[in-house]
Structure formats: C-alpha cells, structure tokens
C-alpha cells in the first residue's frame, strides 16, 4: 500500500463508488479520501474556522475535483487552492460531467492540471482513472510538497 493519498471531491454517491471501483481495478493501490462538497474540500486543506485552521489534514498527492458541488463549487475550490502557497502546486484534475467548453477553459485558466470528462461507458471511465493514477502518482515528478513550505 502506497502512502500516497488521492483526494476525491465528489458529491454523487454513485460516482464516488464507481471511482473507488475503478481505483480498485488498478494495480496501484492508493489511499483514497472522499469529501462530498466544496466546503468540506476547503476544510480538508485549510482546517475549519471553528478550530482556527489547526485541523487541516495530510496533504494529498492528487486531487480529483468535480465541478458541480454543493455549497462551494469546484471552480471556487480550485481558485482557493491556487491562491494559497500551501496548495499552489498541488496536482488537480478536474473530473466532471460537463463538456462545456467554458468550464474547461475556466478550469485551465484557474490552474487545473488536467480536465477529464467522465464518460458514460464505465470501461472507459476505469481506464481514464487508471491512466490518471499512473501519470500523476507514478510517472509525474511532483514538487517536494503541494506548494512552498511555510
């Protein structure tokens, strides 16, 4: 078991389970943490206000980010991640249903590393997940941390 963490930001239970299934099918096993809305994602990185940000969790190696999320949308989460030195260089892959050109362009403008549209065909979805995992967690040389050390 690798110590690398993948953070999945996904509000749809089915999609969450399918992503877990797809990861299980790949040879490389990573710990997957799931948060279910944009606020939860921000709390994961920066901690809750109630705790003064002291409860921020371990930095993941890869974020899979859905765009249409309750509370705080995916694009806003991406903007906040890129604005903070701690998470500025963190690989973020937008994983969405939307094929709207505008969503794609905005995602890249805000600093997404990849934009992947979830296909209906699960075989292709599983392949896409495996390729993402292979590329971002095995092949890609990431900086020592998601961003600058404070």
């Amino acid at each position: 078991m690798s110590d690398k963490i993948i953070l999945l930001v996904e509000d749809n239970e089915d999609d969450e389970e399918l992503a877990v299934l797809a990861f299980e099918r790949s040879r490389i096993a990573n710990a997957m943490v799931v948060v279910r809305d944009g606020q939860e994602a921000l709390d994961y990185f920066f901690g809750t206000e109630a705790n003064g940000g002291k409860d921020a969790k371990a930095m993941p190696q890869l974020v899979l980010l859905d765009l249409k999320l309750p509370k705080v949308g995916g694009l806003e989460v991406l903007k906040r991640l890129r604005a903070d030195p701690k998470t500025r260089r963190l690989p973020v892959v937008v994983l969405t249903s939307s094929k709207e050109e505008e969503d794609m362009l905005t995602s890249y403008d805000l600093g997404a590393n990849s934009y992947v549209r979830k296909p209906v065909d699960f075989t292709r979805f599983a392949e896409a997940i495996q390729q993402l995992q292979m590329y971002w967690l095995v092949l890609n040389e990431a900086p020592a941390s998601g961003g600058d050390r404070p």
Partner: protein, 372 residues
C-alpha cells in the same frame, strides 16, 4: 373680381382667401365659410388678422404675409397648430402667393388646408411604430431569456442525466466482472443489453448537446476550401474501415465563404452518411461536386447506396428521425439535422433526393454575401 377668377376661387375645395395688398379680405370661397363657420359679412372687407375673433393673428403668419405683400414672395406648407374657437385644436397648412390683377393691384391668394387628420394619422403611425419597436424589444428580450434558459437546461441535462447513466453502466459492468459466476448466460446477456442501452442513451444526450451547441457557437466568415475538407473526411473514413471499397470522386476547387469548423462538421455528416448507407454494397462511389440550381451554385454529395423513399422526405432532416432500423444502419438521426443547422446558419438551403436502393443526393447552397 371677374366671374372667371371668382369661379376658380369657388371651385377650390380647400378654404381660400383672396386678400388685397393691405391684407384685407376681398373674397373668401364657400369652403372657407363652411370650415370656419363664418359669414360673408364678418369676413369680406376685414383684415385677415381680425377674422374669427383674431384667430389668424399669429405672429409668424403675419410676418410672412407682410413679406408676400411687400416683396411678392410666396410661401408654402406653413404649418399652424392653433385652437380655433369653433373648431377646437386644428393643424392648418397655409400657402400664399401674390398675383397682380390686370389693373395693376396686387392680390394675395391664401390657401388653407385642414391637415389635422393627416397629422393625427402621421402621429398615430409614429406612435404605432414606437409601440412596435417596444414590442419587438420586449419579445427579443423574452426570446433571449428563453434561450438562456434553454442553454442552462442543456447544461444541466449534460451534467445531471449522464450521472445516473454512468451508475447504470458502471454497476452493470461490475456485476459482469465480479459476479459473472453467479449469473447464467441469459442473465449476463441482459446485463450486456442494459449496458449497451445506457451507452446509447449517453450518445443521444451528447448528440443533443452538440445540436444545441451548433446554434450557440460564434461563426466565422472566411474562405473555406471544401475540396480539402471533403478529402480529409474521405481519408478519415477510409482509415477507419480500410477493408471497404469506396471510391470518392471529389471535384477540385470547391470553395465557399463560411465557418471552416461548422462546414467540416456538415461534410463529416454528409460523407459519413454516404459511407454508412453504402456499407451493404461490395463497392460504392461517393461523389462531391458543384452544379447550378436555379441559377445558384449548389454543392452536392451523391452516393449509390441504400437511398430512401421520397415519401419520407419530410422526416429526413428532423432531429432524432430515422428512416432505417438500428439493425439495418445504426445511428441516432442527428447527422442530417446537424447538416441542416450548419447550412441554415450560413443562410443557405439544403435538400435531398433519392429512391430506395438507388442512392441519395444531398444538395446545399452557401450564399457568398453576408447574412445573419
């Protein structure tokens, strides 16, 4: 005044005054008396400014009349809006002209036209136009709002309808994969049918979105080499199914003004269709060219494939309309609807002819001039 001149004055249908050089009324015609409800006694011999309780004592008219008397000038179309005692508010249009009598005395002819109705008609026409403008603006705003709503709808269709489809397909796949030993052949067959159904629905949603996107994308107008586009599509089709024997005959020098991307999509669909509907033949020919149609140059794509019955022509370009079963020729019935949208956005026309088993020809025009 001589009888001849008098009868002319009388014949004129508009009110007419004959004034002397001092602007005193020498004669008024019966139209004047009728219109202004005045009598000869209170008119003839009086200064024009005194008539009708001074209702003609209008500074601008006075200045002009004095100019006419002094210099022999004339004026036309002097519009006077005035509250006349017996008539109410009226718009009068006045013409004045100096004539010199045989005995050398000057006379001024003052013709008066009641233009009130004409002016009112013009005003109401202007009002109507303004109202129409407002209404068009309102409707346009409503249409734009409806369009935005439709776009938002298309967006949520794209996102929300695909999610449950992914679940159907994904969990079916997992059943087939991890629970195959618990399902007999028939059970597995049904699961596969379920998967192909969901994937087809996903394709339908994507096609629907593509169709709606065609209307929204900004369109360029630039010279487009249709020959090169068609050759590119032909090469791609050959690459996809290298075993088929299909000859493409593409006329050289086919060019148009339009959006290369959209026209490429149209040709992909037209040639793709021709390719698909000739698939049952050992060898086939697909021709792309240009010929004049009622004096307008029209492009065409012709194939010698399955063709169609002209009785069903009305369904041909409708979205999600199909003339063949999935088993005969697969498809969603979106291709020709896409072609039609692209051609219409270019301001052109598209039509088809064919017969069962005898192939089909699709014609389209692309006007060269700017059109919206």
């Amino acid at each position: 005044m001589r009888g001849f001149a008098q009868s002319i004055v009388e014949t004129v249908r508009h009110p007419l005054l004959v004034l002397d050089g001092n602007l005193r009324v020498r004669k008024a015609n019966s139209a004047f008396y009728r219109t202004f409800k005045a009598s000869g006694a209170e008119t003839e011999g009086h200064l024009v400014y005194e008539l009708g309780g001074g209702q003609w004592d209008i500074p601008r008219l006075r200045a002009l009349l004095e100019e006419v008397a002094r210099d022999g000038a004339s004026f036309k179309d002097l519009e006077v809006r005035h509250d006349f005692p017996h008539l109410g508010v009226k718009v009068m249009v006045l013409d004045a002209h100096l004539v010199v009598h045989d005995d050398g005395t000057p006379m001024i002819l003052l013709a008066i036209e009641d233009a009130t109705e004409k002016t009112q008609a013009l005003d109401s026409l202007l009002n109507l136009n303004r109202e129409l403008d407002d209404r068009v603006r309102d409707r346009t705003a409503q249409l734009e709002a409806a369009n935005r709503e439709l776009e938002a709808f298309a967006y949520s269709v794209s996102h929300d309808l695909r999610a449950p489809l992914r679940a159907l397909d994904g969990f079916s796949d997992e059943l087939l994969r991890s629970y195959a030993d618990k399902l007999d052949d028939r059970g597995q067959h049904y699961l596969r049918r379920l998967r192909s159904g969901t994937q087809r629905m996903g394709q339908l949603i994507d096609d629907m979105l593509q169709l709606s996107r065609l209307n929204r994308v900004a369109m360029k107008r630039e010279p487009v080499d249709l020959t090169a586009l068609a050759e590119g599509v032909a090469a791609e089709l050959h690459g996809r199914e290298p075993d088929r024997t299909v000859a493409f005959v593409i006329e050289s020098g086919l060019s148009a003004v339009g959006d290369a991307g959209l026209l490429g999509v149209a040709l992909e669909n037209l040639l793709g269709n021709a390719w698909k509907f000739t698939s049952k033949k050992q060898s086939a020919t697909i021709t792309v060219g240009q010929q004049s149609h009622e004096g307008v140059p029209a492009f065409f794509v012709r194939d010698d494939g399955a063709g169609f019955d002209m009785a069903h022509i009305s369904k041909l370009f409708g979205a999600f309309q199909r003339l063949h079963t999935q088993r005969e020729f697969p498809g969603n019935g979106v291709g020709l609807a896409i072609v039609q949208r692209v051609v219409h956005r270019h301001g052109g026309q598209v039509w088809a002819e064919g017969s069962l088993g005898q192939g089909a020809t699709f014609h389209f025009t692309l006007p060269q001039e700017e059109s919206s």
